[in-house]
């Protein structure tokens, strides 16, 4: 407990946390300047302050770990807040084929890579998840920055993100059950309980979400912020008790909120999420030894090359289904190539596995590469399309 520490230790903690925050502020600014997401830079910063890094920190790991976990919950909460039930239903109806294509084309390379590296099944499944999910944060930023929100291929891209969102509601509990590493029968039982709990909460969220939203909407901003924060942690904690994964609980809270309160809560939680999530990203790579990351760079680069190609294929397929021409298909594919926050969330589930640290290192390298190359590719999509057209 930080408050109980002797005052000199407290002083050290303050100075260290403050210094890291200042460094992150500079990194976020640099990233903003070049139109990039700051996540790769946060990961590099985490390496620098971790064990074996350039400036190892003394701050209590328990404290940072807790803040990082809250960061994950808030990331998932805002993901749930992103879409209204109507948008989810619409996405499900119009994005099904592309969603299945996306899952197969992008999960398999990651899973195969994990198996090829000789990892046990749970770690390979998690690497499949890391490779599967695009970063909705990076993608919405790229679409807005490049003025592509009005483009004809954009609904296909956004519907695919909705599909991945919904798929995560199933994938995360299954992956968490696998990570527990019990016998086959018991794992199946855990998965069944988890999925039943998810469908139960989801049904409740869609049915009673309006009433909950109406109750929350009555107060001012401060009670709303505290209520949403509290509700997220309580539901997350309960989900964790049921071994469903706290992240899914937080995600379902986000889904349950709709109407005006959805947008208000989104605006209020946004800055809080940025703060906690930054700690999460730093803490994630903080646990990776730089030497491990160097070892992982080869496999990560290979997987990134394959993963970018399969995402371009996915975007091509989704846009073609929407009747979009070749340049638009290339734009959709390159836009989808970036992985980010959710790949890191998935990899962090496996932190306790035997191959956990190697998984973390490959995931960090993979996200670093795709998060930088993806937006660059999206920017030059039209040149790429002309090149394809010439062949």
């Amino acid at each position: 407990m930080i408050l109980a520490s002797p005052s000199s230790q407290l002083a050290t903690s303050f100075i260290e946390i403050g210094a890291v925050a200042l460094v992150l502020a500079v990194l976020a600014r640099v990233a903003g300047r070049f139109g990039f997401t700051a996540i790769p830079l946060y990961l590099i910063a985490g390496l620098a302050v971790g064990e074996g890094g350039v400036f190892p920190l003394d701050v209590s790991h328990d404290f940072i770990a807790l803040v990082a976990e809250i960061g994950v919950l808030l990331l998932l909460l805002t993901l749930g807040l992103e879409y209204s039930p109507a948008e989810l239903r619409h996405g499900l109806r119009s994005g099904m084929a592309a969603g299945v294509f996306d899952a197969i084309a992008n999960f398999l390379p990651g899973f195969a890579a994990g198996a090829a590296l000789g990892w046990a099944m749970p770690a390979a499944v998690l690497l499949g998840g890391v490779c599967w999910v695009s970063s909705s944060g990076i993608i919405s930023k790229v679409l807005a920055d490049l003025d592509r929100l009005g483009n004809r291929e954009t609904p296909a891209v956004l519907n695919l993100l909705v599909m991945e969102d919904l798929a995560m509601a199933v994938f995360l509990p299954v992956a968490s059950a696998l990570v527990l590493g019990r016998a086959f029968g018991s794992t199946v039982g855990t998965i069944a309980v988890a999925l039943a709990a998810v469908s139960g909460i989801m049904l409740l969220a869609f049915r009673a979400g309006d009433r909950l939203s109406a109750v929350l909407d009555r107060g001012g901003d401060e009670p709303l912020l505290l209520a949403v924060f509290g509700l997220t942690l309580v539901v997350g904690g309960l989900a964790q008790r049921l071994e469903v994964s706290a992240a899914i609980g937080a995600f379902l809270v986000g889904l349950a909120l709709s109407g005006p309160v959805q947008h208000r809560a989104g605006a209020l939680i946004g800055p809080l999420r940025d703060l906690f999530a930054a700690v999460f990203f730093v803490f994630f790579s903080f646990q990776i030894e730089p030497a491990r990351l160097v070892d992982a760079l080869g496999p990560a680069a290979l997987l990134a090359a394959v993963g970018i190609a399969t995402k371009i294929g996915t975007g091509w397929f989704a846009a073609a289904q929407a009747g979009v021409g070749v340049p638009g298909r290339v734009r959709a594919g390159t836009t989808l190539a970036a992985r980010g926050e959710f790949s890191i969330v998935i990899a962090s589930l496996g932190a306790g596995l035997a191959d956990g640290e190697r998984l973390g290192a490959v995931a960090a390298g993979f996200v670093l590469l795709t998060a930088v190359v993806g937006p660059l590719a999206a920017r030059s999509a039209d040149r790429l399309a002309t090149a394809i057209g010439r062949d």
């Binding site: 992103e82 948008e87 919405s140 929100l149 009005g150 004809r152 340049p327 638009g328």
Partner: protein, 159 residues
């Protein structure tokens, strides 16, 4: 009537698009925040927005008013372009002999050839008034006729 197509953009808002009579494809993107984007599609790549205008809530109101106002005056101009037909707004003077009398009493149609198509009284409008409609001092009548007919009507009502 222009056919408007609506597309839901999950997490962003909604997009409406239509093709102008000139053949250009136009889209209006309404963000959930109320911000809007007005976009014109490229002629070579019909899936891509060539020009995008970013409008705040206030910009949208200003643009809407400009478009709305010019539409009204455009309609009036078009009516005036009908060969030999004119339209005029005439205020009934308190000195006018027609004040306090009905349209039938004035027998304006026969005397001037111009028709009274509406009476504007304070904030309300009486469209297509019948012969029994009464004209009061301060009312504004909207009339259609030949320019000469309207001048004669002006002489009867306005003085």
């Amino acid at each position: 009537m222009t056919e408007i197509q609506e597309t839901l953009l999950p997490g962003v808002g909604v997009r409406h698009e239509f093709t102008t009579s000139g053949g250009e494809r136009l889209a209006l993107l309404t963000h959930r925040t109320g911000r809007r984007e007005l976009a014109i599609y490229d002629s070579d790549d019909p899936d891509m927005c060539r020009t995008v205008l970013h409008l705040s809530g206030e910009d949208t109101i200003a643009l809407g008013e400009l478009l709305g106002a010019s539409q009204v005056s455009e309609t009036v101009r078009r009516m005036q372009r009908l060969e030999g037909v004119a339209m005029d707004w005439i205020t009934i003077a308190s000195t006018s002999p027609s004040a306090g009398r009905t349209i039938a009493d004035g027998d304006f149609r026969t005397r001037t050839g111009a028709s009274i198509v509406a009476i504007i009284r304070d904030e309300s409008t009486v469209p297509a008034p019948g012969p029994e409609a009464q004209l009061d001092a301060g009312d504004v009548v909207v009339a259609i006729g030949t320019p000469e007919g309207l001048e004669r009507l002006q002489a009867l009502l306005g003085t």
